[in-house]
């Protein structure tokens, strides 16, 4: 069933039906309501493809993430989709599985769909593919791609604030020997967090002993391993900051197995603020990475850029991190 059939049954032209559907004010109320009745009666649903072909905009946004199974992403996706829905925009969703090559395919698929904008929320990125999309005038927004900030709108997570707060919190509790569970040296996000830790420590007038930073994999097991190393140090730290929550969970398990109580014997702070933080005992003190704020920022950047006649200004959009104090930190003994 199409607009023709509605037009025929309502005894008007398709132009009039179209106007009614789109809420044009220049239709006589009587005509409009007659048409509307037929539309409802037939349960007529306009064809988006045809609409787009004529009108130019698809009302479709692309959302590309690395890995939906990473607990970082669901809240971001949820928020992005909800905002889109509120604006009558649908979301085509793909994931790259941390594979640069797949990003290229994902972008290609988005191009074919003529999406009105693409949020590329992956850590790994393929510049050539992005440039190609840009050439087609499709709005883009990236996440944490500092090197590309001159070429694309970028959402920049500011680690500084959260780490400053965390270190100040520990200092206020009397801690001076603070260890850090770092991620792999190859991962830029991990390196940036480590740098934020070191500089926060210096700003607090504390020393970042080299023996108190241990690199490992960014999962629970990595946290267990790194914690074992730290606990074996001659003078072990009284508090630990971690590159992410999963490592912090591992650190707590390792401490408990070593008969240390958290936070009585040692304080632990994570990073991310996963939902899990409030499911474990003790509830994890952590630096929150505001995933919903990232989604909101990405969405509003795309929405603005997709507005006809908008001129895209390439800018950095900073998102602050923030300490959430819970039960895994306490005064030094």
């Amino acid at each position: 069933m199409d607009i023709q059939e509605v037009a025929r049954l309502a005894n008007v032209s398709t132009a009039t039906v179209s106007r009614v559907i789109n809420g044009s004010p220049k239709v006589r109320p009587a005509t409009a309501s007659r048409v509307q009745r037929i539309v409802d009666q037939l349960n007529y649903v306009p064809n988006t493809s045809a609409r787009y072909l004529r009108a130019g905009r698809t009302k479709l946004f692309g959302l590309i993430v690395s890995d939906i199974k990473n607990p970082f992403f669901p809240e971001l996706i949820d928020r992005f989709e909800a905002l889109s829905g509120n604006h009558g925009i649908d979301v085509v969703f793909t994931h790259t599985n941390y594979d640069r090559k797949r990003l290229e395919q994902c972008l290609r698929r988005m191009e074919e769909r003529n999406v009105d904008g693409i949020a590329v929320m992956t850590s790994e990125v393929e510049v050539s593919a992005l440039e190609r999309v840009k050439k087609r005038k499709t709005p883009l927004v990236l996440l944490n791609q500092i090197e590309l900030e001159k070429s694309f709108p970028n959402i920049h997570v500011d680690y500084t604030i959260g780490f400053e707060q965390a270190v100040q919190h520990l200092k206020a509790l009397g801690h001076t020997r603070i260890g850090f569970l770092s991620g792999p040296p190859t991962l830029s996000s991990a390196q940036r967090r480590c740098a934020a830790f070191v500089s926060a420590l210096e700003n607090a007038g504390l020393r970042a002993g080299e023996d108190l930073v241990v690199a490992s994999t960014m999962d629970v097991d990595g946290g267990v391993v790194a914690m074992h190393v730290l606990l074996a140090r001659a003078r072990r730290p009284t508090a630990i900051l971690s590159t992410n929550d999963l490592m912090a969970f591992g650190a707590i398990q390792a401490a408990q197995r070593a008969r240390l109580s958290v936070p009585r014997d040692i304080s632990v702070i994570g990073f991310d603020d996963l939902p899990m933080c409030r499911m474990l005992t003790p509830h994890l003190t952590t630096i929150a990475l505001p995933r919903e704020a990232i989604a909101e920022s990405a969405f509003s950047i795309l929405l603005k850029a997709a507005t006809p006649g908008a001129k895209v200004k390439i800018a950095r959009h900073s998102i602050a991190t923030e300490l959430r104090v819970r039960d895994s930190t306490g005064p030094v003994k």
Copy 2:
């Protein structure tokens, strides 16, 4: 840039360009390669909307879930999207937030996009909206909607097997007093799990003492509360089964706070097999709900139904549950 421009530069008609793009065999190789060169050179990407409008199929599947933040869904979405990608199908993603009304809107949006099929992976469902979609011949597949199995293809999670295995596992370890942490009486999935537990118990020749089934909310706190109740019983159970993993985590925390060791003093079994199960100490023994199998089943049902000329047969597609033995269960003292 469109097919016209490619045609002009290649000195052929748009029909020929179209044939080349679509890999038609009836183009002279020399012509084909000349056209292909232009296509590559211009980085020409065909317009999906125009294609669809002509060809009828959108190569778009709709995926509707309740809540992406529920750890049940990410793996399902991931798998569904990966399979779709492999078949050149894109996925429009929406969520209902457990709201029936929103399902209606989600379906409506899918209809407007003329998706080739819709996977409705929500627990709550609005029959009238589904019937409307069905009338438009759009293939649908539902999850755990037993009452609608006569009207729609349905993926049916078979709780029996997993619960049988769990009870047998505990019986083999010497347990005879087995408690159950149940969900709210209003939730049909919770009720079905409880029924599966009771019947497994009977099949094992054990009694399901009424005093050993406690209902609560299906989160960590609910597990804590329910466990407190069970531990206060005159003769407390030596093993616990739980409606989901989150409650089981709560149960373990409650046990540990009561100075009981898991599994030395009490065994605990969850349900779902969330990634978290292997992040906690002890690693949780649980009944796995195979989320990827559900995604695969949903995808293949839609793919088959979306094939032109396919006749849809409405059938139940059973997915088995399965016990995964880890460290939270042990012999009775």
